[in-house]
Symmetry: C2
Subunit: 359 residues, 2 copies
DNA sequence: TTTCAACACGCAAACGTTGTAGTTGATTTC
DNA sequence: GAAATCAACTACAACGTTTGCGTGTTGAAA
């Protein structure tokens, strides 16, 4: 009867409740459920049956407190309505789950303050470690105290994509320079003479590195660098509501120069360039080839489908999670303590905005 | 000197450590930090200064255990590389943070088992409540025991978008029928005679409802329903790797009929239809108008830019979070206990795949 | 001098677990 | 037949907080 009474209650069963109900001690219940040989078969059966009946699950919070670890990863990214970042998250989530970890997501919205806030909010025991891609504002301000403090507190951080040389921790990146070189080389090989690059301001590391690869490749091919073929997009124009300004800027750029190929450091720039170019009479890829970065939906479904650099976000996510969890679980010997930087391979996915390579 | 010794340790400070260091009791420290009037000004100052110096933060896990609430929301969605769902998440995150809540994300990957797993994984005290949009497989199987059990355990659930009449809980949806009616009416008003709909199998509720709106509007306009103008896409074709099959199916459909307008229940179907239509000689919007659902990047950057129904994902997210948190914090009186269903307004964003309405 | 608030603080319990260290009563050992 | 062994438990502490209540020390009123 007591049993029935409890069944109807929607209170979650605890060891204590089970113990009282079965008239044994709490530790007996705990041990029975964990199959300790200190407990008789008979008692074990009884306890297990009861626990099953009431759908007992050990309280995770209590376990976290006791074990001083939460089995939860904090992921802080600048934006979530974003193909690349979500791909990375799905990689993280997938791998983390396999290893019994959960994922808490924090968004910085590219704001330094929100990034700090998020870090603070989670660095109070809620998570075991962080995976983070830095906000643009943080990169601009070059204020990294929050990262340093977090690491000093003993909470490991793994950075991906937008990383920092100044902070020592595990990192996962693509080789932006090399990738950009591959892309530019491809354009050169397929006959392009005047290759432009549409990139970001220098403080965004990926923009800077990709530009560097561009410059390097031109040099390797003995092509004179024309600075005016480098368009650095002002940052505010990234947001969706400034689309027209972006288009305007790109249009002026395209009209001012005689360009036959474009490397764009992200999808949006590539798509915009194509749109503008088409409007002012270019034909793609006949007299304008385009390669973008980040293989997202836009590239795939653009008109024409965009040749693009895939950064394998899912793989990056998996790698970040793996680095972090390994570090969390190998506090054993500080021997294996050196921070690692994993470089994830990229791949150029050829679609219809580039020509095949001239023999 | 002890102080210096501890400063160098990266061990996180606890009340206990502070207490020992200052040679007072734990409770004194706790009370001092919470500004209890039981403690003298002097002691308070001392404790606070010390706590600040060491960057003390109350351990969240301990608090969760004590308060029996985690201030964390569990969000389970079918997919994260998805414009609509991420928009919703960003709405949830934003609002939840404002109210001091964190967000844990779980992905079901449209799989029933993973959905159950995720629910289980978090329903052990990790979170206070769930926000969920159901996996397709769950909708197919019609197995809802995991949802029922969770609610029975006293963990509130808020469903959004893919919801269930069978389960009573708070819900946030768009009025799919009405929205679809608005869209079809618009097509009719701008001169379309043979309007097709590209939709999903019926078990996806949004597909079913949008189809219902389509049928209803035709009837209201005394247009004979032609069943063959309804194309129900087989579900597997949704995945990115089956793009060609999808295209093939849509192509056959378009060729078999004399169609001058299409309502597509998601972006992908709309974009695909446009691509195929263009390939077989249609001109958009001159002799084929298209309206899609879900205002994502694809719609905005499509060629031509797609007229589409915006579901205001961010607002939906905010509403789900609000419903959930309100319920969590108002366990006070069960008076306000009735489950609510919030209907979020939609909006047709006119771009270039529809004609202006005939006067 | 006694009595008594007021003050400033400490104690202990509780949240749900787990693991170590007892505590039983019964059985074996020589 | 007393000591040792053993099986099958129970008690307790600890993880880090918060909080109600108890208590010792004041200074002042009686």
């Amino acid at each position: 009867m007591k049993i029935i009474e409890n069944l109807s209650m929607k209170q979650k069963p605890t060891l204590k409740i089970i113990a009282k109900e079965l008239d044994v001690s709490i530790s007996t219940v705990s041990k029975a459920l964990r199959d300790s040989k200190e407990i008789s078969e008979e008692t074990k059966q009884k306890v297990k049956a009861f626990a099953k009946l009431y759908n007992y699950k050990p309280n995770n919070i209590a376990l976290s407190l006791k074990n001083r670890k939460t089995k939860t990863l904090g992921v802080i990214i600048p934006e979530i309505v974003h193909h690349f970042f979500t791909t990375v998250i799905s990689g993280i989530e997938n791998y983390a789950n396999q290893r019994g970890y959960n994922v808490i997501v924090g968004l910085s919205n590219e704001s330094f303050d929100k990034e700090v806030l998020n870090l603070d909010m989670l660095a109070n025991g809620s998570i075991d470690g962080f995976i983070i891609s830095l906000a643009k504002e943080t990169l601009q301000k070059k204020d990294y105290h929050h990262l340093r403090e977090t690491i000093d507190q003993g909470i490991p951080i793994v950075m991906f994509d937008r990383v920092l040389d100044e902070i020592s921790c595990d990192k996962v990146v693509v080789d932006d320079i090399e990738t950009s070189q591959k892309a530019v080389q491809k354009l050169i090989d397929s006959g392009a003479k005047n290759i432009a690059i549409i990139t970001t301001e220098d403080y965004v590391s990926v923009g800077k590195l990709r530009t560097r690869g561009y410059v390097k490749t031109l040099a390797q091919n003995k092509i004179q660098l024309d600075e005016s073929l480098i368009l650095k997009i002002d940052d505010h124009l990234n947001e969706e509501n400034h689309l027209e300004k972006l288009e305007h800027q790109v249009k002026e750029f395209l009209q001012s120069k005689n360009i036959d190929a474009i490397l764009a450091v992200n999808e949006l720039y590539a798509i915009t360039a194509m749109k503008v170019a088409r409007a002012i009479g270019y034909r793609i890829p006949e007299n304008l080839q385009v390669i973008g970065f980040t293989d997202g939906v836009l590239s795939k479904h653009a008109y024409p489908p965009l040749t693009t650099v895939s950064q394998h976000g899912k793989e990056m996510g998996k790698q970040t999670a793996e680095l972090l969890i390994d570090r969390l679980e190998n506090e054993s010997k500080e021997a294996d303590d050196k921070y690692k930087t994993v470089i994830v391979k990229t791949e150029i996915i050829e679609r219809e905005t580039t020509k095949s390579i001239n023999p």
